[in-house]
């Protein structure tokens, strides 16, 4: 085992953990002040539940070496057969367990943005358990397990997905779309502005996400080496380029650049470069970033056209961004970074694009269909949505007995703004 590689993956695991609180702020700032706590708690509930599932059986279903190409095995149940001395490549397997755990947490948390302000908290808890088990653990195996009995996308199809454009972003985006359809629109959708109640929080979230994402992407090299360096540089420059792209769309269309656009553009770039950061060059990353920034900026308007309330644009940013990044590998991958496999612009090869499309499509369809079914099952049994009256009052009060802010404090405890 290599202490340097281990040090970087330990640090990366911590970085990726932080992404979920970061997401809580990115999302939490975007909703109205009467729903921010629930929005944040949807992410924190992922932090509470997923690690327990992961240790009990999730890691095993995703990575236990005794599985097949569709699902891992059972040897790692309860993290059995792992000790401090067990290696995974050049790092302790415990470290790999930790690193991959963080991916599992954030993926389900991402979905919550599609159903802001209206989901029963208990139903969301149940959804996390079922969705992780039925959707995430298998898909993570498909994409991230490169072992002898590894996943079909990683080992048979050999589509490139360096850090999870399919397993994380397309997966979460498709699931978000499905849940937005199951739950329906918020009261007042299209009538009320529902503008972000705290844009500095959105920027804070974007900043923490970007920071953590270096662990996500450069950590996916599973070592401290030139590949990690490439992924790091690409993550920085594609994100920047996507911000430029998104802000340009706004300037052209609305004359002004918004802070919400800046934050969203950064996330769109991070999403798009996730699958591609190990295979494209830094110049290619600029292209990936700009394209993703522009396309996602346009895609967030789709929900108004098609009439689904994907409240915080999980579809527009994660689904669209994930697809863009996954497919652009087929155009921009360089032979030097792929071990000889070219792409349309670098060598004129079209095959890889096809593989990328198959991987993207498979995850999209699998996730959308399964999620829709899970959502409907929860809805018809315990009910997924709170009442209209409660929604108008604000889900924070109703589901958490709290209001986020109480800043009137001048007056002793019984501050003017307390209570219902």
């Amino acid at each position: 085992m290599d202490t340097g590689d281990t040090a970087w993956i330990l640090a990366s695991s911590a970085l990726v953990l932080l992404m979920t609180p970061g997401l809580a702020f990115f999302y939490g700032g975007m909703v109205r002040s009467k729903t921010v706590l629930n929005m944040m708690m949807m992410s924190f509930l992922a932090l509470a539940i997923v690690p327990v599932l992961w240790v009990l059986y999730g890691y095993s279903l995703s990575f236990s070496p005794d599985g097949n190409q569709f699902l891992g095995g059972f040897k790692r149940l309860g993290l059995d057969h792992i000790s401090q001395g067990t290696a995974y490549g050049t790092i302790p397997e415990y470290v790999f367990v930790a690193f991959q755990l963080m991916f599992a947490i954030i993926t389900v948390a991402l979905i919550s943005g599609a159903i802001a302000d209206r989901a029963k908290f208990g139903a969301w808890a149940l959804f996390i358990v079922i969705w992780m088990t039925v959707v995430y653990f298998p898909v993570a195996h498909w994409v991230f397990d490169f072992g002898e009995h590894g996943g079909w996308i990683a080992t048979k199809l050999k589509a490139f997905d360096f850090a999870g454009g399919t397993a994380v972003h397309i997966n979460a985006g498709a699931a978000g779309l499905a849940l937005a359809l199951v739950l329906g629109k918020r009261v007042g959708w299209k009538r009320d502005p529902m503008r972000p109640h705290n844009l500095p929080f959105v920027l804070l979230g974007a900043g923490l996400l970007w920071f953590g994402w270096f662990g996500f992407n450069a950590g996916s090299a599973v070592g401290a080496n030139g590949l990690a360096g490439l992924a790091f540089v690409n993550t920085a420059v594609a994100t920047a380029a996507a911000m430029v792209g998104w802000l340009l769309v706004e300037v052209v269309r609305d004359k002004k650049a918004t802070s919400l656009g800046g934050a969203s553009g950064a996330v769109a770039g991070l999403v798009a470069i996730t699958p591609a950061c190990g295979t494209v060059s830094p110049l290619g990353s600029i292209a990936v970033g700009v394209i993703a920034g522009i396309l996602c900026a346009l895609a967030v308007g789709l929900k108004y056209k098609f009439g689904y309330d994907d409240s915080l644009d999980v579809v527009g940013v994660h689904l669209v961004g994930g697809i863009v990044g996954t497919l652009l590998i087929g155009f921009f991958a360089t032979k030097g970074n792929t071990g000889g496999i070219g792409s349309i612009f670098y060598g004129g090869h079209f095959e890889q694009l096809g593989k990328q499309a198959v991987a993207a499509g498979a995850v999209l369809v699998y996730s959308f269909v399964l999620t829709y079914i899970i959502g409907k099952l929860i809805d018809v049994t315990i009910g997924f949505r709170i009442s209209e009256e409660d929604e108008v009052l604000g889900i924070d009060q109703v589901e958490h007995l709290e209001t986020a802010y109480d800043e009137a404090g001048i007056i002793g405890g019984s501050a003017l703004k307390t209570g219902v």
Partner: protein, 112 residues
């Protein structure tokens, strides 16, 4: 002219606004307020401790109207703000000597 002041429940605000607009009220001024009344005395439990919450959030509307419109405005507000539960609020009417529109200097009826 009269000044109609109404204190209502926050989640009724949209309805009241629409009802007033439908009734032809062209303008009003709104503030956030806290109400103390019979609705008081509700007890909250939080982190294992109990508290009396004496103030509840309210919306406070002010509408200056012609004498002739007072009754209809008052009944529009009470009609649309009513839930039948304690704490629905109060409406009171005060005599107004004069009104001016800042933009034009028009006064009284013309200023509304």
């Amino acid at each position: 002219m009269k000044l109609v002041t109404a204190v209502i429940k926050p989640h009724k605000w949209e309805e009241v606004r629409e009802a007033l607009a439908a009734a032809g009220v062209a303008g009003m001024t709104v503030t956030e307020a806290s109400g103390y009344g019979q609705q008081k005395g509700h007890t909250e439990v939080y982190r294992g401790a109990e508290y009396d919450v004496s103030l509840v959030p309210k919306i406070r509307l002010e509408v200056v109207v012609d004498d002739a419109d007072v009754d209809s405005v008052v009944s529009t507000i009470t009609g649309s703000a009513q839930t039948g539960k304690i704490g629905d609020g109060k409406v009171w009417v005060i005599p107004v000597d004069s009104v001016v529109r800042v933009r034009t200097g028009e006064t009284d009826e013309a200023a509304l």
